[in-house]
């Protein structure tokens, strides 16, 4: 198996420093909706200027380069143990090159490892074997501010009068956006998982953030709820940075998982406007970045 360390460093560099085009477009559209001269519009102007500057100078868009979340799909026969070594090597190297901030802190001693390597779950790696010959590596850099405002609800929720149906989902998701205010670096993106267990539900709510902002859910009922949630979240008027304004959420992505009869979880992962996600595809010796 070839050593993929350098390719993973490049994936990290692109993810940290170059915002995906669909996210940048959504931010530009959001800027147009805000009142000229308002704090919301000035915030989006600064955000867009920052995005361009980060790309041009290959510096991180946000100083909180977050938890690196890797989703690897590999063909049969690849060694996940070796892939893990290559990725961990790349994470340490990307930290040394200032594409990542050292973020791995021992929870008991408070000591920062200095290279973004912690126990085997930091960085977070998910492996899955797939058909075909191509390896794909998706990376999300999810900052702590937005991670802290994520929420999980167990339905029914009497306070919000949320039952075990899509109307219940709508109620709790809007509550989560309200609770987040501007703290998750609005305008954000919502990754929402319906069902699963507590762990798988949260994971699914993050994995769904890999979808492009401008796609549509294949199931019409969920597609309709996605656009309704985005529209209604924006009616809350929290606005960019919580300054008040028209755009609180750039988009909503829903997914669903089977659950136990006793459980109905709705997990909301809030992603900040710095929605850093990238895909690398390796087919034989060809490497491409999406």
């Amino acid at each position: 198996m070839q050593n993929l360390t350098e390719h993973f460093v490049e994936l990290i560099r692109r993810t940290s420093t170059d915002l995906p085009a669909d996210v940048e477009e959504a931010l530009r559209a959001a800027r147009e909706r805000e009142t000229p001269g308002s704090p919301a519009r000035r915030a989006l102007d600064a955000i867009l200027e920052n995005v361009e500057l980060a790309r041009r100078t290959a510096t991180p868009i946000c100083q909180d380069t977050g938890t690196p979340l890797f989703f690897i799909h590999h063909p049969a026969g690849w060694s996940t143990r070796q892939l893990r070594e290559h990725i961990r090597g790349a994470v340490a190297e990307a930290t040394a090159r200032s594409y990542l901030r050292p973020n791995a802190v021992d929870s008991l001693s408070g000591r920062n490892s200095g290279n973004n390597l912690g126990d085997p779950s930091f960085p977070t790696l998910h492996f899955e074997e797939t058909e075909g010959e191509a390896l794909t590596a998706d990376l999300i850099l999810k900052g702590g501010g937005c991670e802290n405002v994520g929420a999980q609800y167990a339905l029914p929720h009497s306070g919000l009068r949320a039952g075990r149906d899509l109307e219940g989902v709508r109620r709790v998701v809007l509550d989560a956006v309200h609770q987040a205010q501007g703290q998750g670096c609005a305008p954000g993106v919502l990754g929402v998982a319906i069902g699963g267990d507590r762990g798988s539900s949260y994971l699914a709510s993050k994995e769904v953030l890999l979808r492009r902002l401008d796609d549509t859910h294949p199931e019409p009922e969920l597609a309709a709820l996605e656009s309704r949630l985005t529209e209604q979240a924006n009616q809350l008027g929290i606005g960019p940075m919580g300054f008040g304004g028209e755009t609180t959420v750039l988009g909503t992505k829903l997914t669903h998982r089977h659950r136990l009869p006793a459980s109905f979880f709705v997990s909301v992962s809030y992603m900040c406007w710095a929605n850093r996600r990238r895909r690398m595809t390796i087919l034989h010796d060809q490497v491409s970045y999406g």
Binding site: P39, N50, P60, Q63, G182
Partner: protein
């Protein structure tokens, strides 16, 4: 935009109102979770005796904080090996985590500005009036842009907390922010939260709840 030069006088703070855009110049200090906990436990509440270079750090920080600004920021810093430190990315981190500490820290050091994102709660807002000081909101995530306003890294204290949580002493020029909590009892965050609560209650047909920061 109002230009402010650190250190600030009480009157500089009293002249500012929620919504004012400001450009800050002078020397400020980054401090976040570990730093606030350390300051409060070691020097304010004194529940932990000073160890190692604690006392020396405290004495060095005191004159910078008097009239000064605390920036809730965990930067990406280049030049760690050569000690030729340079801020690469330096946006604000969420301020609300420092709510249990901020008012006492500001009063103790007579500091005049806190810079962060997301706003702070009622305890801090009340202290904004009595100390007095202001809360300035920088643009969350605009890290490359803000790093450009850091003209020099002068020194660093408590690097053992890790790069993000160390106390970096930096010189800034025209650091951009907006006043969102002033020394007259106004908080943009409380206003937006109350308005959004009314909107939420309409959208999901509920009785409005008391905002959490009240």
């Amino acid at each position: 935009m109002k230009s402010l030069t650190l250190p600030l006088q009480p009157q500089d703070v009293l002249d500012l109102r929620v919504g004012d855009p400001v450009g800050l110049s002078g020397v400020m200090i980054t401090a976040r979770d570990a730093a606030h906990k350390w300051m409060v436990e070691t020097f304010l509440q004194k529940t932990r005796p000073p160890q190692g270079d604690d006392q020396a750090c405290y004495e060095a920080l005191k004159p910078i904080l008097r009239g000064g600004a605390i920036y809730h920021c965990g930067p990406v810093v280049a030049g760690l090996d050569s000690l030729d430190y340079r801020f690469v990315a330096a946006g604000p981190t969420t301020s609300t985590r420092e709510e249990p500490y901020q008012a006492e820290v500001m009063a103790h050091f007579q500091a005049r500005a806190v810079i962060g994102k997301g706003g702070m709660g009622q305890h801090t807002l009340a202290a904004c009036q009595t100390v007095p000081f202001i809360y300035l909101h920088a643009i969350g995530g605009a890290a490359a842009l803000i790093a450009r306003t850091v003209t020099r890294v002068l020194s660093v204290y408590k690097l053992e907390f890790g790069v993000p949580e160390a106390m970096w002493v930096v010189e800034v020029k025209d650091f951009p922010a907006v006043v969102t909590m002033d020394a007259h009892g106004s908080s943009l965050h409380s206003e937006v939260e109350a308005r959004s609560m009314e909107a939420l209650a309409r959208l999901i047909d509920l009785e409005p709840r008391t905002p959490k920061s009240a």
